[in-house]
């Protein structure tokens, strides 16, 4: 399936629900949706043969959060979900993409986005004395300046 066909098929299915759907370069498709349609779009892609989740990227984009699901093998489709800052929640996709579990946990821990439906969603990586509610990949988290060594 060519990149243009992917975009056309998604546009036919979802129409205006896609805030953005375009081919950025060869084998790179970017799609933006509101979080309500994130699962549906990924489900449709899965039925189109994109059943391989490469990664989940979480971004603090200033006035909102974004979670990008990169799916596909040869062609890579990046599905971007827009998440409001005051309510950082996103439905989990572990039921249809089983291996998504650890990627969701990483985003949860680093940005504080709660994946609803992930049965094992909890902190894993940060040190045990890391304060609650501090998320290092958020832009308002500033690492301390290093003290000079003596």
């Amino acid at each position: 399936m060519s990149e243009e066909e992917i975009v056309r098929e998604l546009r036919e299915k979802f129409g205006d629900l896609l805030l953005e759907a375009e081919v950025r370069r060869k084998r790179r498709v970017f799609v933006t949706v509101r979080r309500e349609h994130y699962r549906e779009v990924l489900g449709a892609l899965r039925n189109m043969g994109f059943d391989f989740l490469e990664a989940l990227t979480g971004i603090d984009a200033g006035d909102h959060f974004e979670v990008i699901a990169h799916v596909g093998r040869s062609s890579s489709v990046s599905v971007k979900a827009i998440i409001p800052k005051e309510d950082p929640r996103l439905p989990s996709i572990v039921d249809s993409f089983k291996g998504a579990e650890l990627y969701e946990r990483e985003v949860y821990e680093m940005l504080g986005i709660v994946f609803e439906g992930n049965p094992r969603l909890r902190r894993l990586l940060l040190p045990e004395d890391w304060p609650r509610g501090v998320y290092p990949l958020r832009k308002d988290y500033k690492p301390e300046h290093p003290k000079p060594l003596r």
Binding site: R24, R25, R27, R28, F30, D51, F52, L53, E54, A55, T57, I59, D60, I68, H70, R73, S74, S76, S78, F97, K98, G99, E101, L102, Y103, R105, E106, M110, R120, R122, R123, L124, L125, L126, P127, E128, D129, W130, P136, L137, K142, P143, E144, H145, P146
Partner: protein, 393 residues
């Protein structure tokens, strides 16, 4: 009655810090927890404070063994972001060094696998022959391990005819040795007894759990970024994607040995067909990237490596994401390490099964997994905070 058996964070066969917490009944493994959080260094955050050129040096140090894969992925990503592609000769040079790094990484793994099954003479022989490649990498790039060969816009050094001759001669000698190791892997009863039907991962499990690289290819999943999403001169250099359907540790061994032979023929072909011309376009050391985002993927020795960059128009990335192959393979590893049905996993096979994904924990530097009874595995690292602090200098 079940016992909990911790393996790591320090263990003789896995020099990198990782904790495998096994639930065992007698000699059989029932369940496993993997905690890979000991070496998290906060590199993604640190990259937000570095200029694009500085970032390259940090990215190379994510992992020593796959530094070429990381730097290739990074420079391709940034070049696509700013629209300055490397010249054709640089694409070939990148391919040559990348394949040399793959050979050295795979041979390193074959040696370690021999070590993990207690076959010490094989370990030493393989490591001796690996030196041939290390010397070539040093001759081409100037460095043995962290090559610093890729730069944004091309590569740092060219290969002249004398050096090309040396590469061909060394690889010819190496090919003979690798063919011998291939025969050992095929026929030696010790190797077969320890690897055949050990660490089973079915094709459907490999697909479901998103296994990548040699782990996926040994489970009959034909997936290789070099073929599926070429990023350097792969469209012009012929090669085969090696696939085995045995789904076990032996298959992973054979995939890697065969890939070494493929890499040798790729380098030979690339040396003969390299276009002449520039090997680098100059990019200023500090530049602003246009606002946008880009995704690049590379077939690292351990599997698919993914980098994602977001730019807001400044001279530093707004967000840089790295997904390493070991992280992608950890779910599959946990599956391999569990006894299920008539596939019994014994305690004695733990090192080679875990080793069979060629784990690179410092690459992963993130975490995982499967915790029975919902217990939180404790970690005490404060590395993230410490290294993140260094970012603002």
């Amino acid at each position: 009655m079940a016992f909990y058996l911790p393996v790591g964070p320090q263990h003789p066969v896995h020099p990198e810090a990782i904790l495998l917490k096994f639930k065992v009944e007698g000699e059989q493994v029932v369940d496993v927890d993997i905690d890979a959080s000991y070496v998290h260094r906060g590199i993604e955050k640190a990259l937000e404070f570095k200029t694009y050129t500085q970032g390259l040096y940090l990215v190379e140090r994510i992992c020593g063994i796959c530094n070429v894969a990381h730097s290739t992925c990074y420079v391709v990503n940034i070049e696509q972001l700013i629209g300055r592609e490397a010249p054709p000769r640089a694409q070939y040079l990148r391919l040559i060094v990348e394949e040399l790094a793959r050979i050295h990484s795979h041979l390193l793994w074959v040696g370690l696998a021999a070590h993990q099954i207690g076959f010490m003479s094989l370990f030493m022989l393989v490591f001796r022959d690996r030196e041939l490649v290390m010397d070539l990498i040093e001759a081409i790039t100037g460095n043995r391990v962290v090559t610093a060969y890729n730069v944004i816009g091309g590569v740092r050094r060219d290969i002249d005819e004398a050096l090309a001759h040396k590469v061909r001669e060394s690889l010819k000698a190496l090919e003979e040795r690798v063919r011998y190791y291939r025969r050992v892997a095929m026929e030696d009863p010790t190797v077969r007894a320890r690897t055949v039907d050990v660490g089973y991962l079915s094709t459907s499990e490999a697909r479901e759990l998103f296994a990548v690289g040699p782990v996926a290819r040994a489970s009959n999943v034909k997936y290789d970024i070099r073929a599926d999403d070429p990023y350097v001169a792969h469209e012009e250099v012929p090669f085969n994607v090696v696939v085995y359907d045995t789904c076990d540790v032996w298959g992973r061994l054979m995939v890697r040995i065969d890939e070494v032979l493929e890499s040798i023929s790729m380098i030979d072909y690339a040396l003969d067909h390299m276009p002449s011309g520039e090997y680098r376009v100059r990019v200023p050391p500090i530049f602003r990237a246009p606002p946008g985002e880009n995704l690049s993927r590379v077939e690292a020795p351990r599997g698919e490596l993914l980098h994602y960059v977001r730019s807001d128009g400044g001279d530093r990335p707004y967000r840089y994401k790295v997904r390493t192959p070991t992280l992608a393979n950890l779910m599959a590893t946990a599956q391999m390490l569990k006894s299920r049905g008539d596939r019994v996993v014994y305690v004695a096979d733990i090192p080679i099964i875990f080793g069979s994904i060629d784990p690179c924990i410092c690459c992963t530097a993130r975490v995982l997994i499967v915790d029975e009874e919902g217990k939180v595995v404790e970690t005490t690292t404060d590395e993230l905070a410490r290294v993140s602090r260094r970012g603002e200098e």
